[in-house]
């Protein structure tokens, strides 16, 4: 068919309508993205305006005080670092081990389905329930008291299910041809996991771990339940780690909560400043996750 000179290939009729819809949808979805971003930006702006001037070195290293201008977050900051650190040590081996078992070793039977179903359910349990469990089991039954170890055990229980699920996802992304390739060379199952599956899955696993840890770092309900304090005049020391595990503690979210319920305006400023510290901390974790993802990405 010859192309007539009047043929200009402009979208007309149904094609024009489809194209219009396609262009419009782009702005619709941009709008959806901006909704979330706008709220976040507003939140950050208000927090920064309120708390930035209060933020200085003294604020980080001082103990809480009934005088707002002398109060600091030393116990809460160190408490958070301790609790999250110990949680990581407790949760990561169990979670990654579980994910490896489920994906690489478990026989495909009813027991496995049962385990998987329960993991998904546990990942959806509200954190206050973990707090009640931690209070009943670690604080009371094992008589640990409201100490760092009890808090970490509780948070570990809370983040294990989601870490397992994220690690499973990462392991499942490794193409079966990689496993088969290793096994066909006479590698054992464990060697294939150790040398082929885990290195490829590592970025995903690390991302899952760090996202779970940032959730643990911001967790309030469970720690309030097991009895984190709001007013401490000592902080856990890195020099006596065993002692520190059994110290009473507080964490940033509880410190923030404690200050926001105080009617005095100056304490609200303290709360805002503490929020900034927590936000920066979580952001550092997330940047760390991104760097690791890039570092481990196969060339």
């Amino acid at each position: 068919m010859a192309v007539s000179s009047s043929m200009r290939l402009r979208a007309e009729g149904a094609v024009a309508r489809r194209q219009w819809l396609s262009r419009a949808s782009r702005y619709l979805f941009l709008g959806a993205t901006l909704c979330g971003l706008a709220v976040l930006a507003l939140l950050m702006f208000i927090t920064l305006r309120e708390g930035l001037e209060r933020l200085d070195w003294d604020f980080l290293v001082n103990y809480p005080s009934r005088f707002p201008e002398q109060a600091g977050i030393r116990p809460a900051l160190l408490g958070t670092i301790w609790v999250v650190g110990v949680t990581m040590i407790l949760a990561v081996p169990i979670a990654v081990g579980t994910a490896i078992w489920i994906e690489e070793f478990a026989p495909r039977n009813g027991f496995l389905s049962f385990v998987k179903l329960n993991l998904s359910n546990l990942a959806g349990v509200p954190s206050i329930i973990y707090g009640i469990l931690g209070l009943a089991v670690f604080v009371r039954f094992y008589s640990l008291g409201p100490v760092i170890l009890a808090g970490s055990l509780t948070l570990a229980l809370m983040i294990i299910p989601m870490t397992v699920i994220a690690s499973q996802e990462a392991i499942r992304q490794v193409p079966p041809s990689q496993r088969d390739g290793a096994l066909a060379l006479g590698a054992t199952r464990w060697q294939a996991v150790r040398h082929n599956v885990l290195p490829s899955a590592m970025p995903g696993i690390m991302t899952g771990i760090i996202l779970a840890l940032s959730r643990a770092a911001g967790e309030t309900a469970a720690i309030i339940m097991i009895g984190g304090f709001t007013f401490l005049q000592f902080s856990p020391s890195f020099l006596t780690p065993v002692q520190s595990l059994t110290d009473a503690f507080t964490i940033l979210p509880i410190q923030i909560y404690g200050w926001t319920i105080d009617p005095r305006e100056a304490f609200r400023q303290n709360a805002a400043a503490a929020i900034i510290v927590l936000m920066v901390g979580v952001m550092v974790l997330n940047i760390f996750a991104a760097v690791i993802r890039e570092r481990f990405r196969p060339s």
Binding site: R179, L185, A187
Partner: protein
């Protein structure tokens, strides 16, 4: 001339023995003499081998002997079970949930599915090259030495890598780039890397599952030359879709067929490649190689 005469005599002897061999084949309707016993020492002896995937009977009643230091090709239309059969020979089917093997596969006289046989030992001796090149996301050197490392084979990584890469006719192309990622190579090079990787474990048999199906004709020719070269030292069993390839590289050819959809695959004809292609004994083999179906 003498050799040709000898061969003819042997063939006639085999033809005489063939009805005996086919007695072991319980399948009704299989023609007498279509499944021949090849010359020489056997690496594998398969008796009544069948595979189930769950409730699906993938292949059944396979009886054949695979000779040492020869290329044996498995051909047949899609779904006839040739890859399934291949994966039985180094117990890769063990990895598929729900797979069950029946019958006996003797490797140098030992049943590889016997209780005390370890699949890792089997796979170390019987290497495998897959349809799609699957180099690890590691350097070329680490790719080649991986199997040697996990199997604790003696030698420095560089020695092992060089020897295997030379055997796989890849050394000249990569000798200056051993630290480069294996994924950076072309498809044909990747496949030769996978062959080198298998050779580095010092296997006895190499199974190849359509090794050229993802490659261009030139890369395919290189792999085929390599297969001919390797057969001096190794026994090679190759699954291929490509009948010309089977004709070019193999000494013996086995034709498998799943007669109708949903019916398990069976060994229809097995014999010297040139005879099977020029003078098939079974009507179905003839139909397949002349392109009437498949």
């Amino acid at each position: 001339m003498k050799e040709a005469e000898l061969r003819e005599t042997e063939d006639r002897l085999q033809a005489a023995a063939a009805p005996l061999a086919s007695l072991a084949d319980p399948t009704p309707g299989s023609e007498l003499g279509a499944i021949r016993v090849p010359d020489g020492e056997a690496v594998f002896e398969l008796s009544d081998v069948g595979v189930w995937y769950g409730n699906k009977h993938a292949i059944s009643g396979i009886n054949m002997q695979i000779p040492v230091r020869k290329v044996t090709a498995l051909i047949g239309p899609s779904g006839c079970g040739k890859s399934t059969l291949l994966r039985c020979l180094n117990r890769m089917n063990d990895l598929i949930p729900g797979a069950r093997i029946e019958g006996e596969i003797n490797y140098h006289g030992t049943d590889i599915y016997a209780k005390k046989v370890d699949p890792v030992e089997v796979r170390r001796r019987i290497g495998m090259v897959f349809q799609k090149p699957n180099p690890f996301p590691k350097s070329i050197r680490d790719n080649v030495t991986f199997g040697a490392k996990v199997n604790r084979i003696k030698g420095t990584p560089d020695e092992i890598a060089e020897r295997a890469l030379r055997q796989a006719a890849l050394w000249e192309e990569v000798k200056n780039d051993l630290s480069k990622s294996g994924l950076a190579l072309s498809g044909g090079q990747q496949q030769r890397l996978c062959i080198a990787r298998a050779l580095a474990v010092q296997p006895d048999v190499i199974l190849m599952d359509e090794p050229c199906s993802a490659l261009d004709p030139i890369a395919t020719l290189k792999i085929e030359d390599l297969i001919r070269e390797l057969t001096k030292e190794y026994t090679i069993i190759i699954v291929t879709h490509n009948m010309q390839q089977a004709a070019r590289v193999s000494d013996n050819t086995a034709f498998l067929l799943a007669q109708e959809h949903g019916v398990n695959g069976q060994l229809i004809e097995y014999g010297p490649t040139n005879e099977l292609f020029t003078n098939p004994r079974d009507k179905r083999t003839e139909d397949y190689i002349t392109g009437r179906f498949g």
